[in-house]
Assembly symmetry: C2
């Protein structure tokens, strides 16, 4: 696509891991994993995907753009809710199939109203049987007020 930066394919594993070129390894569906953390607290807010265009737009604008695989659409975080993410820093991992962004999050990242999508804890030590989740986070905003009632 003409609006994508020329993100070349990686050459060797050494280039990929120890080189200075951004050569993202997109999955078969054209996306890469993005982990988003709160720049102030370090808390993991969400995990989503970016395609080449979302990645390029995020790099160019410093605002978080993602790609919704279920909707098949580019998506600027906060477009509907106003809960945008200003990117303070981006990192890429060793094999360049995941990026990490540290963001300034308005209100909350999760569409359920919590600041983080990871608001439930999974108890450890259980060998088989149904696993019962424990809620760990209060809502930061009312999702019905922001997105309308479902």
């Amino acid at each position: 696509m003409s609006h994508d930066p020329p993100l070349a394919a990686p050459n060797s594993a050494a280039d990929l891991e120890e080189g200075v070129s951004l050569t993202p390894k997109f999955a078969a569906d054209g996306t890469i994993i993005c982990v988003t953390t709160d720049a102030a607290s370090g808390e993991v807010l969400m995990v989503a995907h970016m395609n080449a265009e979302a990645l390029a737009k995020t790099i160019a604008t410093g605002e978080a753009w993602y790609y919704s695989r279920s909707r098949g659409a580019l998506w600027r975080k906060g477009e509907t809710s106003g809960h945008t993410q200003r990117v303070v820093e981006m990192r890429v991992d060793c094999d360049q199939d995941a990026v990490l962004i540290r963001v300034e999050q308005v209100a909350g990242a999760c569409h359920t109203g919590r600041r983080s999508c990871f608001y439930r804890s999974v108890p450890l030590g259980q060998k088989g049987g149904a696993v019962k989740l424990e809620f760990r986070e209060e809502r930061a905003f009312d999702p019905n007020a922001v997105y309308g009632k479902k």
Copy 2:
């Protein structure tokens, strides 16, 4: 598989997001994304995948198990390197297609010798053109000494 816990399929979106049952949504390849952070510093160490067996073993043992999609094999973190991960807490996200584990990491998580796989920064504000990465982290161990020379 008989060694897997009975992780039921989710029912409605409300159950998935606001319920107390762990009902992970595995992708078509049978895996779920796992983000791993350092329990002490909060730093994101790595992103990997778990299949149902790896998830069940991690929950049961409190040690991090993953599934390597490239090798098609279950994998206990640190099996080769000794750089194991003791899980302090596990979280699951709103739509239950990603988990987060906070771990006590021995030495470093990355096979390149760094503590985190996210050791390179992607500069922001660039509109097109090759993107030049910046190294941000020193090695915590010598990968040749741990894994043998490549």
